[in-house]
Structure formats: structure tokens, C-alpha cells
């Protein structure tokens, strides 16, 4: 499991990470209020800054080409660390694995992404990049064919819940060519990136977006929750800000257990309908194709659109994120557009769209697919290798 590398605060003490903030109490007729002690402030304020300055982050790259066998999910091994600030990777044992840090919340959420460059010219076969968890479930990314004269590089991005007591992730590769295919490590390399974005939200408060923190003056009275008469509540200025930073809005909706078809037609954009949520701590989705912003801010949004293919294929495939603005208007963020496989295999096509999008409360997002096959294509329905949409709040 990931080692909890210690961070030391400026006063030399080890930070208690991550932070479950203190709820301060005001004095009452029969109770003493909490004293304003430097140690209590340090535990929350200093520790939260220390954690968020260096959230767990791993970036590993492969520098020796690897043979990927046909039709078998294979972990990319021999990763060299560009960064591994919480020491979750080993250079000598299971070198393709990243173990996430063990936190008090047990089951934090991580943004995982990767690239696999393929040494292939096959246009009749599929090549997939994925994130594999604990050697089992693979969360698939782009699924594309190669072609004549050029290499192919496919990518993956997903939001995954990982428990630091045991969980690890690997960058995975799969293809269905007849023979093994090597990864490319000259000029471009297989790459895995994993970073912490949210504590396990189960049971955690979901505050409003913090206001601009107070500028303190000599006439302010520090309170717990009381306001008025110059009182500035620490439960608002400190506790709720910490709560927000540890549990910002995140969402992952996915398809499962149903069949949706995408009609053929240039510019005929069809929204993918979601059937379930892996995480939705601020209630952005209830049903249907849209997720609705509940807390304003800048979000990182990424969608994977996966469809099966017919034996005879034509046209192109494209994906986009559609942003409907509550105040009026809309914007689109196109993703990868690609040609489908040639030949008769029906393995499918998966595309990715991602963008930083500023959302206001009430704004909605959809993941939309467009194809010109001449016949309908079916959306892949699965929590792991099907279509899904993820979102992470990143800034005010």
C-alpha cells in the first residue's frame, strides 16, 4: 500500500493529514467556548495547506518497449517515476503499479489518465488504453484502429475510488491484432498519471462554495458560529473551507444495463443517457442525459463515449461535451474525432472529450456522440468499459 510520506510543518511537527476539521464551540451560559490556541489552528489550517500544496501525484513513464500480446489486457511495466510524492511506486517490484496513499477516509477519489503509443499500422483492429485496478477491472479509454504510415497513440481518463489500504492502479493496453504489438518509446512513451482530487465523500458535509476568506482586523471578535457585533466565525472561515477543500464537487455518471442507439447523420448529435452514478457528492445527476451544476466554479470535465461497430463501417465518429448555460446560450467542447476500423470486426470505437469549463449553478452538461456509419450504433453499457462522464471542481 502507499506509504504515508510525512510532511512537516514550519514549526517542525508532522502534519496530521488529511484533515477532518474541528467544529468550534462558542461559550454559553454553562459552557466554556473553545480556546483559540495556535495548536488547534495549526492542526487544521496549516495541515490543510500542507496537504493541498502536495496532493498525492504520480507520473510514470515507460522507456523500454514492451510487447503487448493479442486480446489480453496487459499492464505497462517498468515505469520510471517523474514524480511520486507519496511513494506509492516501486522501481524494483511490480514496477507498473501505483499504490495510492492510505488516508483516514479510506476510499478517496483519484483522477487517472494515461497514454499508450502503439507500433502498429493495422486499420482493421482495435487498440485500447485503460486503467486497471488491483489487477482486475479495467476502465477503458480510447478504442481506435491504427493505419498506414503512422503510429497510433490512444489515451484514457477516468475518476476512480481507491482505498489506500490495498488498492493500486496500472496503465493497461489491449488490442486484437493477430500478433503481439510493441509499445513505442522513442519520441513518445507510455505514460500514467494519477492524482488525488477528493476524500471519500461518504458522510462528509457538502458546504456552499466558500466566500472570499475574511481579512481580520484588531476589532474583530473570533467566534465559533456566532455572528454580529464584529464576530467572525471560525466554523465558516476555517472549518467549512477545509470541508470544501477535502470534499469538492465531483461526479461520475455511467451507462449500465440498457441499450441506447446513436443514429447516423452528420451533425446529428445524440446525448448519451446515463443509468447510474459512481460518485455524485453534491447531487448533480438524478436521471437522464444531463448533469446539473450545484456549486459554481471551474470544473475539469471529461467524457468517454463508447459504441459498438457494425461489420460494415463507413463515415467518421465524433464526440463533444455540450454545455447548456442556465442564463441563456450554450457552448460545445469537441473531443477526439476519428475514423472507425476497416474490415469486419465489430470491436467498437471509443472517443474522449475533455475541457476546463466554468459552470454556474443550474448549468447542465451532456456528452454527445455523432457518427455517419449509415446505420445506428449501440452505446456500450458498462460502468467500466462503457460510456461515462466525469467532473471535478478545481477552482472558484
Amino acid at each position: 500500500m502507499g506509504t504515508l510520506t510525512r510532511i512537516f510543518l514550519p514549526d517542525g511537527q508532522a502534519a496530521i493529514l488529511p484533515v477532518t476539521p474541528r467544529t468550534w464551540s462558542d461559550s454559553g451560559a454553562a459552557t466554556l467556548g473553545d480556546p483559540l490556541r495556535a495548536s488547534l489552528l495549526t492542526t487544521d489550517a496549516s495541515s490543510i495547506v500542507a496537504w493541498h500544496r502536495q496532493r498525492p501525484l504520480f507520473h510514470g513513464i515507460q522507456t523500454l518497449a514492451q510487447s503487448i500480446p493479442a486480446s489480453t489486457w496487459t499492464a505497462i511495466t517498468g515505469l520510471g517515476e517523474l514524480t511520486d510524492n507519496w511513494s506509492g511506486h516501486s522501481d524494483t517490484t511490480n514496477t507498473g503499479r501505483y499504490y495510492v496513499p492510505n488516508t483516514v477516509f479510506g476510499g478517496d477519489w483519484y483522477l487517472c489518465s494515461g497514454l499508450v503509443p502503439w507500433n502498429t499500422n493495422s486499420s482493421t483492429d482495435a487498440h485500447i488504453t485503460g486503467i486497471r485496478v488491483n489487477g482486475g477491472t479495467v476502465y477503458e479509454g480510447m478504442k481506435l484502429p491504427g493505419g498506414t504510415g503512422h503510429a497510433l497513440t490512444t489515451s484514457v481518463v477516468d475518476l476512480l475510488q481507491l482505498d489506500g489500504s490495498s488498492d493500486y492502479v496500472e496503465l493497461g493496453a489491449w488490442h486484437n491484432e493477430a500478433a503481439a504489438v510493441n509499445t513505442v518509446v522513442s519520441s513518445k512513451l507510455p505514460s500514467l498519471q494519477v492524482r488525488w482530487v477528493c476524500a471519500n465523500p461518504s458522510g462528509l458535509p457538502t458546504p456552499s462554495v466558500p466566500a472570499a476568506p475574511h481579512t481580520w482586523t484588531g476589532t474583530d471578535v473570533v467566534s465559533a458560529s456566532a455572528t454580529g457585533s464584529g464576530r467572525v466565525p471560525l466554523n465558516t472561515e476555517l472549518r467549512d473551507v477545509v470541508r470544501w477543500l477535502m470534499n469538492p464537487p465531483i461526479v461520475r455518471v455511467h451507462t449500465s444495463g440498457t441499450t441506447q442507439t446513436i443514429p447516423s447523420g452528420a451533425g446529428t448529435w445524440t446525448a448519451i443517457t446515463w443509468q447510474g452514478q459512481s460518485v455524485d457528492n453534491y447531487g448533480m445527476w438524478t436521471s437522464g442525459a444531463s448533469v446539473t451544476c450545484q456549486r459554481a466554479g471551474l470544473y475539469y470535465i471529461a467524457g468517454t463515449g463508447a459504441v459498438t461497430e457494425t461489420s460494415t463501417k463507413a463515415g467518421y465518429r465524433a464526440i463533444r461535451i455540450h454545455h447548456a448555460i442556465a442564463a441563456g446560450g450554450s457552448a460545445d467542447y469537441y473531443g477526439v474525432a476519428a475514423m472507425p476500423m476497416t474490415g469486419t470486426k465489430t470491436t467498437g470505437t471509443s472517443l474522449i472529450a475533455d475541457a476546463f469549463i466554468r459552470l454556474a449553478v443550474g448549468d447542465t452538461l451532456q456528452l454527445q456522440f455523432d457518427q455517419t456509419n449509415g446505420s445506428t450504433l449501440s452505446v456500450v453499457s458498462s460502468t467500466s468499459n462503457g460510456a461515462r462522464l466525469i467532473g471535478v471542481w478545481v477552482a472558484k
Binding site: 514550519p10 483559540l36 490556541r37 495556535a38 489552528l41 489550517a45 496549516s46 490543510i48 495547506v49 493541498h52 500544496r53 496532493r55 501525484l57 522507456t63 520510471g80 517523474l82 514524480t83 497514454l115 486499420s123 480510447m142 484502429p145 491504427g146 493505419g147 504510415g149 503512422h150 503510429a151 497510433l152 497513440t153 489515451s155 519520441s187 513518445k188 512513451l189 505514460s191 476568506p213 481580520w216 473570533v222 473551507v241 470544501w244 452528420a266 471551474l298 475539469y300 471529461a302 467518421y316 465524433a318 457552448a331 467542447y333 469537441y334 473531443g335 477526439v336 474525432a337 476519428a338 475514423m339 474522449i352 472529450a353 475533455d354 475541457a355 476546463f356 466554468r358 478545481v394 477552482a395
Partner: protein, 191 residues
């Protein structure tokens, strides 16, 4: 102490001035809520060349909270870059697109460069992103590739988005259609 990025870890020592200590805390928390943000598109015509690595030049940014866009620097720099305001890690998302009639077998690559070179230090700048066989038809067919990277930059390093596409077509322009434009988003995520 200030709200600059990245925030310093506040020192809250017993016996120190309480107002100073509390403002230190507030400023650091404000910094965490407001990391550097840069978002821009290419909204006007841009001539590009096949079989060539080229950085996308950005139109006036949608957001540039730390004033990192090239023309905002003193002295002004090229509009194809975001100058990292502080040393640290940045989440970069970008899309590159072409306009025109494609051709069979054409690939497009989106990549990021830091300090003009590979962000990994192992690859070659301009190649480390998705490489995709894009649609080959008329200009109404989108020809776009996108990806997100986490990169490290020193203060002052330019972060740039590289477009490369192969020689099959006669395309010489990016797509400036709303939604299909080249775009970039950069957010500071830590040290």
C-alpha cells in the same frame, strides 16, 4: 504572506500577533481556492503547415488570473504561450483542430511543451499526446484531438500547445468554428 500561488504553509505560533496569524491563514486558504487559471481559444484564422511542429497562438484569453499569457508579460512575449507564474505542477488540457478537406491516412497529434521541450524529459516535444487518424472528408467533419496532461514548470517557463499533422491532405488552417477551435486550459495544482 500573500494570496500568491502556491500558498505558504501558515505558521501559527503561540504568542504571535493574533490578527497577523489569522490573516496568514485566510490568505493561504484563499490561494488554495483560487489557483492560477488560464483558458484560451484560437478564434481567428491561423495558417498551419503539415509535417511541422507548431505552437498554437492564442486569441485574447477567456481567463488569465495570474497574467501569464505571453503578451501580458513584461517584456511582452509571444501569444503562443502561458508563462508559469510559479514553480509547480499544472493540469493542462488542450485540443488542436484542422479545417478543410482531409485525406485518407492523415493523423493529428496534440502535445504540450514546457520550456520548449518535452514535459517528460524523455520524449521529444510535440509527440507526447494522442495520435489519431482523423476524419478524411469535407471541412464539416471535425478533425480534432484533445488530451489532458499534468506537467511541472519552473517559474517563467512557457507552457505551449503543439500541433502536428501528417502530409496526406492539403489543409493549411485550424478550425475556428465555435466548439471545434483549438483550446487550452491550464490550472495550477500544487508544488
Amino acid at each position: 504572506m500573500s494570496t500568491a500561488w502556491p500558498p505558504d504553509i501558515p505558521v501559527l505560533a503561540a504568542g504571535a500577533d493574533a490578527v497577523t496569524a489569522l490573516n496568514t491563514m485566510s490568505q493561504s486558504l484563499a490561494s488554495l481556492l483560487n489557483p492560477p487559471i488560464f483558458r484560451a481559444e484560437r478564434s481567428t484564422a491561423l495558417t498551419v503547415a503539415e509535417n511541422t511542429h507548431q505552437f498554437i497562438t492564442w486569441s485574447t484569453p477567456t481567463e488569465d488570473t495570474a497574467g501569464g499569457w505571453g503578451p501580458s508579460q513584461t517584456p511582452a512575449q509571444a501569444a503562443d504561450r502561458y508563462v508559469a507564474p510559479a514553480a509547480g505542477w499544472y493540469h493542462v488540457e488542450a485540443a488542436v483542430s484542422l479545417s478543410g478537406t482531409g485525406a485518407a491516412g492523415m493523423v493529428v497529434i496534440a502535445a504540450v511543451a514546457v520550456g520548449g521541450t518535452s514535459p517528460t524529459g524523455q520524449g521529444v516535444a510535440g509527440w507526447e499526446g494522442p495520435e489519431v487518424f482523423v476524419p478524411t472528408g469535407a471541412s464539416t467533419q471535425p478533425k480534432l484531438v484533445c488530451h489532458g496532461w499534468v506537467v511541472y514548470a519552473n517559474a517563467g517557463d512557457p507552457i505551449q500547445i503543439d500541433l502536428w499533422y501528417s502530409t496526406e491532405s492539403a489543409i493549411t488552417a485550424v478550425d475556428t468554428t465555435a466548439g471545434i477551435r483549438c483550446r487550452v486550459g491550464i490550472v495550477g495544482i500544487g508544488v
